[in-house]
Symmetry: C2
């Protein structure tokens, strides 16, 4: 993972198929950029002071009245506290319904053993921080394209994010953020192949957008 | 909670607003009946041998390709193992999206303190079994009527279950089942008021249906 600094904005490249964890203080901005387009990023936000407290898609749906968050929406925790707010979003359509891919997903549904997966990526980067055996929470799947039909059918479609598309959020508490550039290459989640994501953390919204324009 | 036996079928009444936990062995049937109609029942199924292993709505959606399970569907765990199968269902429309109501739901959204809630009902009946401080999983909300619109809007509507409507499932492993007759009386979840649910556990599908016809 490369690590560059542009004034006060930290930039990390997450290699396709792998994960990383990064700290955010309250008020910091986090951006995730889909470098080549069509790459899903499983995204988690955990209260850095209390690992039992984390971003919860289902609590967020009740809070915002939608299963799809929009710019201006607070994302809330399993205790219904705002944890992040969406500041800008080039795509406007992500997924909060599908759990992280895991060993069982590849083994049971595709007959593939030993496949990299977002569940284990999460554990790999969180274990050194003391996560231990806790259940991996439901992720917010950036740049993933799902649709619920009126009869309840859940469709997983090819991603719609284009090269350079990004989403920016502001932290409402001291957080650990985990992002996994999803290694799923066996269904439409993977879209155009498994590619890198870029993660940006900064203190200023203005400087973050300057960097994202480059 | 009253406890009656009808041949080999155990019947329990869950008072409106309260919860109960019951053991099921593999192959046993569980029925939940909405006695008066319009009463949501938050339903959890936990692997009795491993409390980190439980029914997971989001893993079930991917397994069945829908956010609404139907008769014949397996419900799966957070490790993608079948935990229950739906044998019959009078209503055919429940909810797997909305988290259990909790103290924060009543305080933050309705300004009501001290309200009974499904989250605490779960902990109350599971603590004596050793649940401790683990996160309360996402429930399967029986007789709850939600709808996702094409733009992602999540609607919570009045329940459609009528008096006597029931759902029957068969256990795929040794389980603890928790059901909370949801005390939500401040939005359409509550429908016609908070009423009792009936829980039935039996070894024979035939006898279970005989009892449910009474």
């Amino acid at each position: 993972m490369s690590d560059r600094n542009h004034e006060d904005t930290t930039r990390l490249t997450i290699p396709g198929g792998y994960g990383c964890a990064i700290d955010l203080t309250r008020g910091q901005y986090i951006g995730v950029r889909d470098i080549e387009g069509g790459q899903c990023g499983d995204f988690w936000a955990i209260d850095a002071e209390d690992f039992d407290h984390f971003l919860s898609p289902s609590h967020t749906w009740v809070h915002i009245g939608r299963v799809q968050p929009q710019v201006g929406d607070d994302l809330v925790t399993n205790r219904r506290e705002p944890i992040l707010k969406i500041v800008s979003d080039d795509v406007g359509w992500h997924d909060m319904l599908v759990p992280a891919c895991d060993r069982q997903r590849y083994e049971r549904y595709y007959g593939v053993t030993g496949h990299g997966n977002c569940h284990d990526n999460f554990l790999e980067v969180m274990r050194p921080r003391g996560w231990e055996a806790k259940h991996v929470p439901q992720p917010f799947n950036l740049f993933m394209n799902t649709l619920v039909e009126p009869d309840g059918t859940l469709l997983i479609r090819n991603p719609i994010s284009k090269a350079g598309d990004n989403i920016v959020m502001i932290a409402k508490m001291h957080l650990v953020v985990v992002v996994s550039a999803c290694p799923m290459d066996l269904n439409p989640v993977g879209g155009l192949g498994i590619t890198d994501l870029e993660l940006l953390v900064g203190n200023s919204e203005e400087k973050m957008f300057e960097v994202l324009k480059v």
